[in-house]
Amino acid sequence: MRASIRWLPGLLVGLALVLGPTATAGAEDRDRTVVVAVGVDATSMDPYLSTNITDKHVASHLFDTLLRRDDAMRIQPNLATSYRAVSPTVWEFTLRPGVRFDDGTPLTAEDVKFTIEHALDPALKAPSVAQFRPIVRVDAVGPHTVRITTKEPYPALPAVMAECWILSKAQAAKGQQALSERPVGSGPYRLKAWARGDSILLEARTDYWQGAPKIPYVRFRTVPDQNTRFAQLRTGEADIVAALPPEAVALVAGDRSVRIARAPGARAYFVGLNTRLEGPLRDRRVRQALNHAVDVQALLDFVYEGYGSRLATLLTPQQFGYTASVTPYPHDPAKAKALLAEAGFPSGFAIRMESPEGRYPKDREVAQAIAGQLARVGVRVDLAIREWGTFVGQFRTEAGPPMYLMGWSIPTFDPETILTPLLTPNQTYGRFDTPSLTRLIHEARSTVSPEARAALYEKAQVLMKEEAPVIFLFQLEDLYGVSNRLDWTPRSDERILLYQAAFR
């Protein structure tokens, strides 16, 4: 009898011991390690199999890109010392000589060629390389010269190259598993240990071509719960915590060991208006009325405690071609009612709106607030709140939901990656198009001269406001909790980069 009770837990303990604790990623010196608490573990060490932001944080430490973005999100030379458009469809990049991968092999044009071909290889089934698709050919014309040919003129290419981490061709020869688990890059850090689901430890490379990092170790620890991440910041177990909720700001006010750091976020939030479906949204006056009806500043003030700013269109100020001359719709319920009456809906109408829950900060709350504001001008919103997977599942069909809340992140900071997918025909999430705007977007996307292109995007912003294809909302500020022992500034592209950080 006694045995029977005792051997059950005994068996489990035994099993746990036999199977062993997963390799905990070394007990390095806490004083020399920056711990970043992130919500999800990395997917793969191959950046082209990336599915989340942690992958990108890690890749940015292990690998270098041809071009990089500075803190103001301007494109700067990096592995490439210079680049030029040889013709509207051919770009030439000159590589910096003397850069070496962590295994000692030199980084050459062949590695660049391999990397892009790898990303586009159908066998890889890469999830997020839509921006690489216009590339048709890569030629290593010399050891340090690469030519990239695109199908049609592709002015966003330099922006895309700021997101193109260069892999080692020699390492890839060992197979995909080597790329996915044992990365060899030319970046400032190397992978020291990866305990899946728990943490990733990076170690500084003293021979990095731009100089050794000041922080010897960086650990990305997976902490899925927001409250626990916040607790880790307070206990000193974590040095950087991203995506703090606005209410956390007041909580750390009295804590001298931590501070709040802020950066304008990369996401443009909006409510999509589906004009593929029959209904009132097909009338421009109705769409304008909805823009007048929503009090965006009130949403920012009451839902986000003021941490954000209004957007006049889908472009954020950090994007190429943004113009401040286009101003947001003023909040004017009377005007909204008048426009609705003019369009033939004097007593409003009923419509369904979809919102994800748990995907964006306070997504459900903001959707409810928008529905409430629209009700005041007679638009009766039937709000459906769904888990993210179910939410996106609705876009499998051509019809899609009538109205939907989304936040669109633009990693390239190029308007092309938001305007084409949202405002031209035959797209996954876009449910609006109008010939004049489509023509303008297509023209801008194939104009190589930056000045001419910026002028086209300025026109597009004017027309976009006029057409009101969505309810324009806001960009939020990303809030970070940071340990006061650390000198580190957040960036607008959501990347947590420690290369330039230092202990105080």
Binding site: I5, A16, P21, K125, S128, T228, E237, T390, T428
Partner: protein, 305 residues
């Protein structure tokens, strides 16, 4: 004995098939991994290409039969997210889950049963009232709240224990207590209830009349008869714990099966969900088998049936 084991294993087959089919349908009908995995600027033709590449464009029954065909050969497919065998991912998460389950089981048996005995042996005393109070609190406290409170008190305020993560023993304490709290209370209550009834029964009166020492009456006679429901409950709980404890694992950043399953459901990473459910069902069936066999040790009547 061998016959019993064999029959039980056969019984498990329909459970396996049924649960895998149910999970397969639920997960497949509720979303689409392609849209979740691909960046939003991906045009529809590339979304379709991705679906084709992963066989997601096939009719549901074809996808299910492919899965079953693979499973029979021991191949549970490859994770759409991680591009690694789904079973490997599950088996990597299993030790963390076993560790946490074992730790909380130790608490359940080591604290829950003695509390119940103590309470039953001292019915009506302050001790009994205290245990019953604890039981109410333990069973009534939701784990997400208890977990956060433990973090606030022991990690943030007192700085006695790490808030989360897995590695050394100190990191195991808070999640194990959080997970065990409910079960400790449940087992204490069950033990107390059974024991109070047993102590009033005729055979206990006889034992006492024989002049047996009180502790022998309590442990050798009364408790023994209470153990069958207690062991059954512990067994069922163990089965539950082996599937991973989603809330506790999430709060304490514990890299176990519960989190893997829920993450995979959210990302519609079908193969991982399937593999994890299969492994959980197998473990559950195994634990139940162990519980059934333990009846034979605990109760001679079962042995002689």
């Amino acid at each position: 004995m061998a016959v019993v084991v064999a029959r039980r294993l056969l019984d498990a087959l329909p459970v396996l098939v049924g649960s895998s089919l149910l999970v397969f349908l639920l997960v497949h009908l509720s979303g689409d991994p392609a849209l979740l995995m691909l960046s939003p600027d991906t045009p529809p033709e590339q979304v379709a290409e991705f679906r084709r590449a992963h066989g997601l464009d096939q009719p549901l029954h074809v996808q299910y039969l492919r899965f079953v065909g693979g499973a029979i050969r021991g191949d549970l497919g490859e994770s759409i997210r991680f591009r690694r065998p789904a079973l490997d991912l599950v088996l990597e998460a299993l030790p963390a889950t076993l560790e946490l389950a074992a730790a909380s089981l130790v608490l359940v048996v080591g604290v829950g049963v003695p509390l119940g005995v103590l309470s039953a042996a001292r019915t009506g005393t302050a001790m009994d009232a205290a245990v019953r109070g604890l039981v109410f609190v333990g069973q009534g406290t939701p784990p997400f709240w208890l977990g956060l409170m433990l973090i606030v008190v022991f990690a943030v305020k007192l700085r006695l224990l790490p808030s989360s993560g897995r590695g050394d023993f100190s990191q195991l304490v808070l999640p194990a207590v959080t997970l065990a709290a409910y079960f400790v209370a449940a087992v204490a209550r069950l033990t107390r209830g059974g024991l109070v009834a047993a102590l009033r029964s005729d055979y206990v009166r006889t034992a006492r009349a024989k002049g047996l020492a009180p502790w022998r009456v309590l442990f050798g006679h009364a408790l023994r008869n209470v153990l069958i429901p207690v062991v059954t409950m512990i067994g069922l709980q163990t089965g539950t714990l082996l599937g991973g404890a989603v809330v506790t694992e999430t709060i304490f950043a514990w890299p176990g099966m519960g989190r893997l399953i829920v993450d995979s459901i959210y990302r519609r990473d079908y193969p991982v969900v399937q593999a994890a459910i299969l492994v959980t069902v197998v473990l559950f069936v195994a634990v139940n088998l162990v519980v059934d066999l333990s009846y034979r040790l605990l109760d001679p009547r079962v042995r002689h049936e």
